[in-house]
């Protein structure tokens, strides 16, 4: 079975400061890992994905994530937060045939001016 744990339900940062969203996963096999973002009243949008290529993955809007197998982690970072980054972020794992996604509980990001 696979599972995803997002270690923080809420993160508050000041505009211009770094953002770190933490994610740990468990799976018996090499997973595909994704980060999705959901802005208020909007659909889920893919930020980035890891599929066993480079362990440092760059995504849209300046986000990146590093896959660390030894730590079973896939933390999401951004060097400088922008007001438009205020949203909910989901760490997601997929490894089963059929690409059924398992979502973490989400981290809501607040960006203060």
């Amino acid at each position: 079975a696979q599972s995803v744990t997002q270690l923080d339900s809420h993160v508050s940062v000041s505009e211009g400061t770094p953002v770190l969203l933490r994610c740990n996963y468990s799976s018996s096999y090499s997973p595909s890992l994704f980060w999705y973002v959901q802005h208020p009243n909007k659909g889920l949008q893919l930020l980035l994905k890891y599929t066993s290529a480079a362990t440092l993955v760059k995504g849209i809007n300046g986000f990146e994530a590093e896959f660390k197998k030894s730590e079973t982690s896939f933390h999401l970072t951004k060097p400088s937060a922008h007001m438009s980054d205020a949203a909910e972020y989901f760490c997601v794992v997929s490894l089963n045939a059929g690409n059924k996604l398992t979502f973490g509980g989400g981290t809501r990001v607040l960006v203060k001016p």
């Binding site: 595909s32 994704f34 659909g43 889920l44 994905k49 059929g98 690409n99 059924k100 996604l101």
Partner: protein, 115 residues
Amino acid sequence: GAGVSQSPSNKVTEKGKDVELRCDPISGHTALYWYRQSLGQGLEFLIYFQGNSAPDKSGLPSDRFSAERTGGSVSTLTIQRTQQEDSAVYLCASSLEQYFYNEQFFGPGTRLTVL
């Protein structure tokens, strides 16, 4: 190009009524997925289709829930005899194929409220 569309965007119904939710995937996407987003349960998988067949229905919470897909395109999720715990946002996603490395593209969702 057009993304995944869902209708209606909002649905309010009375307990015990049946509802149908519709999903139009991205043209050419063979895999289609239904998820549910609720306050108590977060985001959870319901069912997926490869073409018109549903190899995995393991997430459907009860036999009141069913789904079909016709012509390898449009899908309908039906909830019979709705209950208040069915209130949630129902999300549809599609991907080019069903492999685990394929990105899923999500629709805006249907917000279902059962009174």
